[in-house]
Amino acid sequence: MKRKQLTTIFSIVVMGGGHFVNKFFLKGLFFFFIGLTFIYNLPGILQNTAGLISLGDTPQTVKGFDIIQGDHSILMMFDGVISVILFIFYALVYFYSIKDARRIAEQIEKGETILRGKDYLIHFYEENFPKIMLTPAILGTIFFTALPILITIMIAFTNYSAPNHLPPKSLVDWVGFQNFINIIKLKSWAGTFGRLAGWTVIWAVATTFLNYAGGLVLALLTAKKGIKFKGFWRSIFVLPYAVPAFISLLVFRLMFSGVGPVNNMLASFGLEKIPFFTDPLLAKIMVILINTWAGAPYFMILISGSLTNISSSLYEAAEIDGATRYEQFRHITLPLLLFQTAPVLILSFAYNFNNFGAIYLLTDGNPVNSSLKYAGETDILVTWLYKLTLDHQQYGMAGVISIILFAFIASISLYNFTRSKSFKEEDMI
């Protein structure tokens, strides 16, 4: 008992202390060093955390040639968040060191053999293999996905906006839920939000469905028995994937414009010109179709792979039972395909929901509609948000909209996803 208590106390007082008590010098030294770095970093951590709360107190001052850069609120927010993360990291290591030392003390008291050195490392590796393997993915996701999102969300609670709250000239302050309240108050903008949200959902559902269906048709056709030169056909159909979307979309924009070659051809046949991109409804249909042109090839590749993954014995059995080919497709191919690709399908829905590039390059939101505030008929929420942020520098407001957007898309996807078979049954395979 005494050893364990002593270990605990020493561990609490000095990082690695408990290990020294039990003569685990290397490990103790290791934790001790981490403790040292903590002490070295502590003033910075505290200062930055304070900065996170205040978001700065001295703005830029200018006197002739002397420009004293004041506090850059957004950078301070960033430093603050990093410091909090760092602090949590230290806390975790600290508690782990105490736990580890106590485990060692306990084992010594019980007289169990304790792994040391190489054996310990091997054991550690064996025990924690999943965690070790996931470390790069988790670190990458935390720092390059989660952290930026966190910052964006935090900005929604500040008054970071033009013209009076732009660093470095002026400071940014926390304003709580003010931006959320403002958005509710701005009734005329709520109309725009609603209209765009409706179209965004239609757009995301339609493109995802058509991309998938188009890819499926291409894959089925090129995999059909008796069709020659399968590789040749596939290579042709993959062309839209190989040509960068940013050129093919611009090309489509010109091809189908009122003065472009397609309409010229129609006119030369004595037909009426078609307002492909100037009629609101037609423009919407066009962007969906063109995006299918560009997106289906990827799904063709993906599905071609999955198709051959379906065991041929299933089809043979079905044929013996006298199933027609449509029935085979309906009851074997499609369910198995969907089972394999459901997560991809959901992610693809989310991707299209935020598919900035397609709209930006194809129509830039046009045709115009003056009843929409700073948006056009084909603008989706993300492109609208982009215009608001970039042209108007209303970062706080943009933060609020992106939170709403994120909550919306995440809940739809999560709902569908947790209900999908591939998630429910994933442990059954």
Binding site: L26, L29, F30, F33, I34, T37, Y40, N41, G44, Q47, N48, P59, Q60, V62, G64, F65, I67, I68, L75, D79, I82, S83, G117, S161, A162, P163, N164, L166, P167, P168, K169, N182, L186, S188, W189, R253, L254, S257, G258, V259, G260, N264, A267, K273, P275, F277, T278, V368, N369, S370, S371, K373, Y374, G376, K387, D391, H392, Q393, Q394, M397
Partner: protein, 426 residues
């Protein structure tokens, strides 16, 4: 045992150094006390010792000029100038990121309508070395364009506006009035065959301003500085845009069918008899071998069209480590001698009064029409509220053109949208 120690110390050393290195980066050093400035009131301003400048300017002839100017500046002051191609419309956005990161430009070029934005976010330094010269020697439009809240904040490099380009294979001479052009266009235009009397970016407020302001309309009052006074939907503006819509007869049916690429393509093929465009198009048209001429915008109802004029400004970053060298460089670049060099390379009009009379500029057929148009041009307002104007006014022009709304309705909607946005930003 030795191996183990080695391994362990290596490991802990690695972690230690990476953790502390990483952490160290995040922590601000104590704020540096500003160095006391030796009395700068007397004597000439000299570049800081060891100064090096990074300059952003667009790619192309503008960049070529800057590299030349950099060399000459280095010869004179011994300060190295490094040129990087950054588009003039990108520079402010980039500086707001790169400045704090310590990799921003010392001197950069930007369009003057974004001066307000640059000043209100604290990215540019005041012009401390040549304000007097700009007030006395530069054109008024350039002076106004580089001034914000009564202070001269930048250095004007060139002034530009748009004019009428006409295809000489189709039209013998430039039409002096729009009435004349409409007469010609009535027989020339065949919308199904893509033949148009005139073609321009109808839904773009930059060009639309020429009509909007021809008869009393304006964007913001008091020379574009009073955001509470919007003149976009006054009677004059409505009359101006109604004139614009008269051109629909000889132009494109739907505003959405216009794109810059289509305009240039049609003009090069001689299918658009005239286009409204700026000096930046000259190079492309020459490369394509188009036989074209340039003229000031025709009059309408006997009134001159009031195009927007833009001034290309050079600014000194407030993040610059060498503000004196940077300001000296901007002053050097905007000297008469260097602006003349710049004109030779870029064909852009130097905004200095005396230079405009220089024979090589005054007689240049690629410059003269723009100069003539510039007399009637209105400098784009530079207040930060400008950003709320482009999209709603552009939409209004499009809808009026397409006949979805009357001119009055469309412009009223635009003003309403702008006011809402300005209120929301307060």
């Amino acid at each position: 045992m030795n191996k183990k120690i080695l391994l362990a110390s290596l490991l802990s050393g690695l972690i230690l150094s990476s953790v502390s290195a990483e952490a160290g980066l995040f922590f601000k050093k104590k704020k540096e006390e500003p160095k006391k400035q030796e009395a700068s009131t007397t004597g000439e301003i000299m570049p800081e010792a060891g100064a090096e400048l990074r300059v952003w300017e667009s790619d192309g002839p503008e960049g070529e000029f800057l590299e030349l100017a950099g060399k000459k500046f280095e010869e004179k002051y011994g300060v190295k100038v490094q040129y990087e191609p950054v588009g003039m419309t990108d520079s402010i956005g980039r500086l707001s990121q790169d400045g704090p990161a310590g990799i921003g430009a010392d001197v950069f070029v930007f369009p003057h309508d974004r001066l307000g934005e640059a000043v209100s976010s604290g990215l540019v330094m005041e012009n401390l070395v040549s304000a007097d010269r700009i007030s006395s020697d530069f054109m008024d439009a350039a002076k106004i364009a580089s001034t914000f809240e009564g202070k001269i904040m930048a250095w004007p490099l060139s002034i530009e506006t748009y004019a009428l380009f006409y295809n000489k294979d189709v039209l013998d001479s430039a039409p002096a009035t729009f009435e004349e052009l409409i007469d010609f266009g009535k027989s020339f235009t065949d919308k199904n065959n893509n033949d148009f009397g005139i073609f321009w970016e109808v839904g773009n407020a930059y060009y639309g301003h020429a009509f909007l302001a021809m008869d009393g309309g304006y964007i913001f009052g008091s020379n574009g500085t009073d955001a509470s006074d919007i003149g976009i939907n006054n009677e004059g503006a409505v009359r101006g845009i109604q004139n614009m819509i008269k051109l629909k007869e000889i132009s494109v049916e739907k505003s959405g069918d216009v794109s810059y690429a289509a305009m240039m393509g049609l003009f090069q093929e001689g299918k658009a008899a005239t286009i409204i465009n700026g000096p930046w198009a000259i190079k492309d048209l020459k490369n394509a071998g188009t036989n074209f001429g340039i003229a000031p915008l025709p009059t309408f109802d006997g009134k001159h069209l009031r195009s927007f004029s833009g001034v290309r400004l050079m600014g000194v970053s407030s993040y610059s480590k060498y503000p004196k060298a940077a300001q000296l460089f901007a002053k050097f670049v905007t000297s008469d001698e260097m602006l003349l060099e710049r004109y030779k390379l870029t064909k852009q009009i130097p905004p200095v009064k005396t230079l405009l009379n220089a024979p090589e500029i005054a007689n240049d057929p690629e410059v003269l029409p723009f100069l003539q148009q510039a007399q009637y041009a209105v400098p784009m307002p530079a207040i930060p509220e400008m950003r709320y104007m482009w999209s709603p006014v552009g939409a209004a022009l499009s809808e009026a053109w397409d006949g979805k709304a009357t001119v009055k309705e469309a412009l009223d909607t635009a003003v309403k949208t702008m006011k809402e946005a300005m209120n929301a930003a307060k």
